[in-house]
Amino acid sequence: MNWLSWLSDFFSAPDHRSGPDSIVHRVSEHLLFSGEALLYAAVLAVPLGLLIGYTGRGVTVVTAFAGATRALPTLGLVTLAVLLAGVGDTAVLIPLVALAAPPLLVATVEGVRGTDPDVRDAARGIGLTHPQVLWQVCLPSAAPTLLAGLRTATVQVIATATVAAYVGLGGLGRYVIDGLATRKYAVTVGGALLVVLLAVGAQLFFALLARYALPPGMRAQRRAR
């Protein structure tokens, strides 16, 4: 057996072409679930980060806390969540959100704090209210950092969602885990390859966003002063 035959086995298997175990279905499961986790993490982390970054209160606590969460093992959180909260996608969502939120929080805080103080003062000086400054000055200026944080969180979520197949989550991790359990290496390798492609694709997506979707003036080539 070699790579080519493994992959041709994987991609030509009838189960992988249609039905609940098909590649299209698994990829969409993986993307939907990761997207859901990221959305919840962003809803939690970004407003809090904007507030903390703007007021400057609790920055040290947040940074230390987020650094500490890096030590948490994903597999441990996922298995514990399922044992405590019961089998199901909701149980798995909790650790995923918990792992994605800290990098987003830190990125938002750092982005807002990185706003040029002169620009903030000028914005106040021309009569903008605090919410207006936050919304019209700090948020655009935090956008590149925020995007970098979102990228870290996405990478983390895609990887953790793969691991979470162990506790029964769908998505591409299913191939990896099921292939290992049934000793069908072609399935495992095919799944791993798709996960890698998804992760690289996400990186490219964020690289393109950073280049084209940021507010003009905040794009990478102008950022370096």
Binding site: G67, A68, R70, A71, L72, P73, T74, L75, G76, L77, T79, L80, V82, L83, L84, G86, E110, V155, I158, A159, T162, V163, Y166, V167, G173, V176, I177, L180, Y185, T188, V189, G191, A192, L193, V195, V196, A199, V200, A202, Q203
Partner: protein, 222 residues
């Protein structure tokens, strides 16, 4: 799971030796790659500062490597390194560590101000002597900042290796899940956190010792 408490303390008491063995195994699997990563990052970083054109593509490659989900990489290595071997887990961890350490090494080496470099040359330091007594010491705070990030991530990532049969403390997660017995999982999470904290404190101590001038952390944001 109805009346199962989250932690049964007696189980931990009964399995202290077992937990100690897993902890030792985990420390080797997680930290040896960081050490190898450091040994690779320094010469590679030096090459990159000497040939700056090399750094951009190399750091792009390592950015992508760092983003690869660990489980997928472990699994892809199995035909070459075997199931449940240390190498299957340690080779990817080495690359993850290198991906963190290379940028911090380059930042550290670039942080030496040019006048300092020139002063060293003017005082008669050769390239080797200047490297060991001026440039590398100046990079130490950066290197340690990078090592802190790399070590903590490596310690938590190594547990995923349990899914391919070799994850040190990660085995407790698989074991606890299969028996619907949360105690080993909680013990595993706690021991991993303790190991990460201990290594982090050790590195902070090393920085105090090796670079007492660097009171505030520099380099890799942590």
């Amino acid at each position: 799971m109805d009346d199962e408490p989250i932690v049964r303390w007696y189980w931990i008491g009964d399995h202290l030796g077992y937990l100690g063995n897993l902890l030792a195994d985990h420390a080797v699997i997680a930290l040896l790659p960081v050490l190898i990563g450091l040994l690779l990052a320094v010469p590679l970083g030096l090459t990159c500062t000497r040939f700056p054109r090399l750094y951009q593509p190399l750091s792009a490659v390592f950015n992508i490597v760092y983003a690869l989900p660990s489980l997928a990489v472990f699994v892809v290595l199995i035909p070459y390194t075997g199931l449940a071997t240390q190498a299957t887990v340690m080779i990817p961890l080495t690359f993850y560590a290198l991906a963190v350490l290379l940028p911090t090494t380059v930042d550290g080496l670039r942080a030496v101000p040019d006048p300092v470099r020139q002063a060293a040359t003017a005082m008669g330091y050769g390239p080797w002597h200047r490297l060991t007594s001026v440039e590398l010491p100046a990079a130490v705070p950066y290197l340690i900042a990078g090592l802190r990030v790399a070590a903590v991530s490596s310690i938590s990532l190594a547990s995923v290796g349990a899914l391919v049969g070799r994850g040190g403390l990660g085995y407790l997660f698989v074991d606890g899940f299969q028996r619907t017995f949360p105690t080993p999982i909680v013990a595993g999470i706690a021991l991993i956190a303790v190991l990460a904290l201990a290594v982090d404190l050790l590195l902070v101590g090393a920085r105090r010792l090796l670079a007492p001038w660097a009171v505030r952390e520099k380099g890799a944001g942590s």
